[in-house]
């Protein structure tokens, strides 16, 4: 491996299994790294040398980069803000019930949507849009807003029982069969999957 030749090196981030190409790779002893960059230590497979990569700060949002296939045209859309949070829960309840989701699962889905919508109201510009549709035996609820999610570990660590905040995404990930997050400075989508069976 040629030191200082980023083309030859892939870094696998510990979260999300995302591969990125570092801007620069150097031996640790090459001196101080530039401030404002994110650094990760890479250990070579043979354990011989340690390397440090530098990644531009904007690249740290990569875990949520990319696009999801758009919701189908028949998706039911509901706009919401703080005053509409209770109505939003009613809409999800009615819709999921029409698809014969069982009672306990409806409550879980409603809570999950409520948590993400609350995040939209608090951090995503005060409002958002929910889209709901069905794909075979899965119900999908997607919340879009103008917020930008940058914490790659969001919802991955259990808050302590005394903690006053930071529970929303943790709850959502535990109540849904799959949660997909896509985010950029232009906005975010959180797509929640709930199986019918």
């Amino acid at each position: 491996m040629a030191v200082g030749s980023p083309e030859n090196v892939n870094v696998v981030l510990p979260h999300a299994g995302t591969r990125i190409r570092p801007l620069r790779v150097c031996r640790e002893e090459e001196g101080p790294l530039e401030p404002g960059f994110r650094h990760e230590v890479i250990l070579r497979g043979d354990g011989a040398d340690g390397f440090v990569s530098q990644m531009a700060p904007e690249e740290t949002s990569l875990p949520f980069d990319g696009r999801l296939r758009s919701a189908p045209p028949e998706a039911q859309a509901v706009n919401f803000d703080e005053a509409g949070l209770a109505s939003l829960r009613r809409a999800v309840t009615v819709w999921a019930d029409e698809h014969d989701l069982r009672r306990a699962s409806i409550e879980e889905l409603v809570l999950a949507v409520d948590e993400i919508a609350t995040n939209s109201i608090r951090y995503g510009g005060g409002e958002g849009t929910l889209q709901m549709w069905r794909e075979r035996d899965v119900l999908l609820c997607e919340v879009s807003d103008r917020g930008h999610i940058t914490d790659p570990l969001l919802g991955r660590m259990q808050p302590s029982p005394d903690s006053l905040s930071g529970r929303g995404m943790w709850i959502v990930k535990h109540l849904c069969d799959l949660v997909q997050i896509r985010s950029s400075p232009a906005g975010s989508q959180v797509r929640m999957h709930k199986k019918l069976a």
Binding site: E82, A83, L85, A86, S87, R89, A104, E107, E108, V110, L111, D114, E115, T118, I121, R122, Q158, P159, P161, D162, L164, S165, R167, G168, W170, I171, H174, L175
Partner: protein, 112 residues
């Protein structure tokens, strides 16, 4: 539309029972917050949040419940809750908070 959350306060000697009926979320969490901070509750020895009629709770509501508990502890008051609906209990269990909340079956039950 009916009020999503109604709060009733009652005193039973040195115990104050805060009875919540409906849904506790971001939109009405401030109502609980101001009730807990109110002068009426400051003199009680024990505060019980009665969740039996609470049909919906999310993490924002839970945050207010936990901050209410902190305030009670700072004031030297005992704090307990009663169990809520299936949804409320589900939230308490998935967050791991339930087992750390002092829970009594009825609002009048003795604290041991």
């Amino acid at each position: 539309m009916e009020d999503p959350l109604t709060i009733n306060l009652r005193r039973e000697s040195d115990r104050a029972v805060v009875e919540m009926e409906g849904e506790l979320d971001m939109a009405n969490a401030p109502l609980l917050q101001s009730t807990i901070e109110g002068a009426e509750l400051a003199s009680a020895k024990t505060i019980v949040l009665d969740l039996q009629q609470l049909t919906f709770l999310d993490s924002t509501g839970l945050r207010v419940i936990l901050s209410a508990r902190e305030l009670c502890w700072r004031r030297g008051q005992e704090f307990a809750v009663t169990p809520g609906s299936q949804q409320v209990q589900r939230l308490l269990s998935v967050t791991g908070v339930g087992e750390h909340l002092r829970t009594i079956a009825e609002p009048g039950e003795m604290l041991v």
